[in-house]
């Protein structure tokens, strides 16, 4: 997804919340730092300065700047913990048993996102009511049947996690899948380090995900998995997997330029996505989207470590 196709406000919306949370971690942070970061981006956009073509690259670099400038490690830590608490409560109440229900619940749980789309002081974005009528709820794109078919025959399923809290729904999905397909190898990949409220590989491991699946670090805290930053472990896992479940908007915007037909997107869109093969996917819709709809003619993802051609 091209950076210039993304609504301009999305480049600014994180700054306020990030700064607010960072000040909870370090009260000495000067208020002017927020103003300066906003100024930098405004001038860059207003004056037509170069920005990375891919929005996931652009935002990875831009949000990393917040961490660098403010010198904080993980200002979203407390929000992630709240998300996990809420997810536990919801799962305890919902306990989706069928594979279909667990899949749908994992899609809805993608709304549990305190990151890019959230405004300052938004209330918690998820409640039990959001999970009502899971299996009858219409999806903007519903490739669920195709996914179910692929799940039945899969040897190795890799899930690319997105938000903290939501990840508990992902683990629940994998739990249900394991019960159904005990011989299927399961892996779950997450970021190597903090990026907004996204779950990290370390956090998954701390939640006991390792008892259920192989926990893999993508090797980066970027959105998606940039080829030059990916870990060898992730690349090997991806190469071996015959089915990939990619959660969330960022993975949708990242993987959509590649041709990986074994990939399915499970997401609640936060921003509209434009693609020649898919047309316009509006913001605020749920998807179970097979990459086969767009993969033809697009290059395969391939790890290219720094320094390689």
């Amino acid at each position: 997804m091209k950076s210039w196709e993304r609504e301009v406000s999305s480049h600014f919306v994180v700054i306020g919340e990030f700064f607010r949370l960072a000040r909870e971690e370090d009260a000495s942070l000067h208020p002017s730092l927020r103003e300066e970061l906003e100024r930098y981006m405004r001038v860059r956009l207003d004056r037509g300065k170069w920005i990375p073509e891919e929005v996931t690259t652009f935002h990875s670099e831009w949000y990393r700047e917040f961490y660098r400038v403010l010198g904080v490690r993980d200002p979203y830590r407390s929000l992630k913990e709240r998300s996990e608490e809420l997810a536990r409560e919801l799962l305890a109440e919902l306990a989706p048993r069928s594979l279909e229900a667990a899949l749908r619940a994992a899609v809805v749980a993608n709304r549990l996102d305190f990151g890019v789309a959230r405004r300052e002081d938004d209330p918690l974005p998820l409640a039990v009511a959001d999970f009502a009528d899971l299996e009858r709820r219409p999806l903007w794109i519903d490739d669920g049947a195709r996914l179910a078919e692929r799940l039945e025959g899969a040897r190795h399923v890799l899930l690319l996690a997105d938000n903290a809290g939501e990840a508990l729904f992902d683990l629940h999905l994998l739990r249900v899948l394991r019960a159904r397909r005990p011989g299927c190898r399961l892996s779950i990949a997450a970021k190597a380090g903090p990026m907004l409220n996204d779950v990290t590989a370390d956090e998954l491991a701390a939640q006991g995900a390792g008892e259920l699946a192989t926990v893999v670090s993508t090797g980066t805290n970027a959105f998606g998995v940039p080829e030059r930053e990916a870990s060898a472990e992730f690349a090997a896992c991806l190469a071996d997997a015959d089915l990939v479940l990619a959660k969330g908007q960022a993975h949708l915007e990242f993987w959509i330029r590649f041709g990986e037909p074994r990939l399915f997107h499970l997401a609640h869109t936060k921003f509209a996505v434009l693609d020649p093969a898919l047309g316009r996917l509006p913001a605020g819709v749920d998807l179970v989207l097979s990459a086969e709809r767009y993969a033809e003619g697009r290059p395969a993802w391939r790890r290219r470590p720094a320094g390689a051609a």
């Binding site: 000067h30 002017s32 730092l33 103003e35 300066e36 970061l37 100024r39 930098y40 405004r42 001038v43 207003d46 004056r47 300065k49 170069w50 990375p52 670099e61 831009w62 700047e65 660098r68 400038v69 010198g71």
Partner: protein, 513 residues
Amino acid sequence: MEAHGCQQSSFGDRLDAMAGLRVVVLGDFFLDEYVECRLVGVSPEMPVPRLERGDACRRPGAAGNLAAGLAALGARVTALGVVGDDAAGDRVSEALRVAGVDVESLVREPGRPTPTVTRFTTPAAGGPRHYLRVDRVPREEPSRDSLARLSHALGEALADAALVFVADYDEAGGAGSPGAAGGVVRTEVLQRVREAAAKSGARLFGTSRLRPGALSGFEVVIGNQREVGLLGVAPEASAAEARAVLEEHELAALCVTCGAEGAQWLDAEGWRRFAPRPSVEVDPCGAGDSFAAALALALASGAGVDEAGRLAAAAGGLAVERAGTEVVDAARLRRPPASPASPPPRAGAAVARKLRTLDALGAELAPLRAAGGRVVFTNGCFDVFHPGHLRLLREARALGDCLVVALNSDRSTAANKGPGRPVIAEPERVEMLAGLEAVDYVTVFDELTPVHAIARLRPDVLVKGGNYRPDEVVGRALVEEQGGEVVIVPQRGGFDTGAFMAAVSRASDGHRS
């Protein structure tokens, strides 16, 4: 032996005390020439190297270098000597005048060659390398008329001088009587100096290439190990043995410069050592003069031996970091030496002097700020350096007392400018900036924005080049809320990197077609 380290303390107060002192430098004024050459092969005429001559730079040498060094430290210096009434003499006089030395009493003798040392250098990593030295020195003593005029001027000049520094650089006559050949420092001149100094109360310092023994009765003789050895002081001499030499020559003190090992001082209390300033040596030529100038002037201004030694060691250390006999001025000495946190030099002495981490820079700027100095800051990628950049930096420097340039790292430049950038890698961009006189410090930042650097350094003036509105200058709020100001230096002459690269690309396309 005590060792007195070259500490990271400010010399500001001492330099203030040194400024304005009247100093007379009497001796052999040379013209130093540095001629850049390029080795292009072997001569077709004879099997000898063939050099292609490039630019030449000329500076006062020998006593002239000492005089210029004293003037650079703030002294009011009068040059006393005899030079030829030739082009070289014109150059020496003019160069001394430009350096702030009074040359009205410099005797110009028709028919006498001005002593000239020409050093042919070839380029090498880390600075020019001496390839060949050619000397032209007078073989005849100065005329009676010249010596009479010198003697007369001496009496007048010493009347209100705080310090007289006799600099005997004549090496042509051998180690016999002073001025056995063409030198100015002759027995009768030295006698006149002693009389005049005794009358005026001026302190007597001296140095001699071959005849330090002629400087008996002086307060301090400064020389390198070979020169001081001519007095009979062995390197391992005990304090008692060395004091015996002092008594024999009626000297109050000796100072032995030991190059990279620092210096040693001997007086009635015994030996003490002045530790060298950590330096990246480019060219040791003239470092001894810088050391001597600083030592003598500091002592003449009332400094104790230890303080004077530290200052002199700092001056000597700074002098070796530049090619040629460029003097060390008070401004350079006011800056404390680099802290251990500074990064190692990546390319050349200029980089070593100017490149600093953010942490080290903060500490290094503290004395300047405490003295009321204004720190000017600008930032950029400075990729494909062009006249617009140069003009911006010169204008920025003029706005304060010190210019810090924060440079985007390669990663930051690529993230801001896109594929194919930077064109020029970070080490070379640092080197270019550090090589500019207008730039005092360079610091590299890896973030997308200079916000962190500005927040840490809190400059007094934030400069932005280009056609920006004030509200578009990143860092504006951080600077203004501390009472600083933002200055926008508009583009002039149409030079901006984008237009420049487009022009280069068009020229390249035209060349190919």
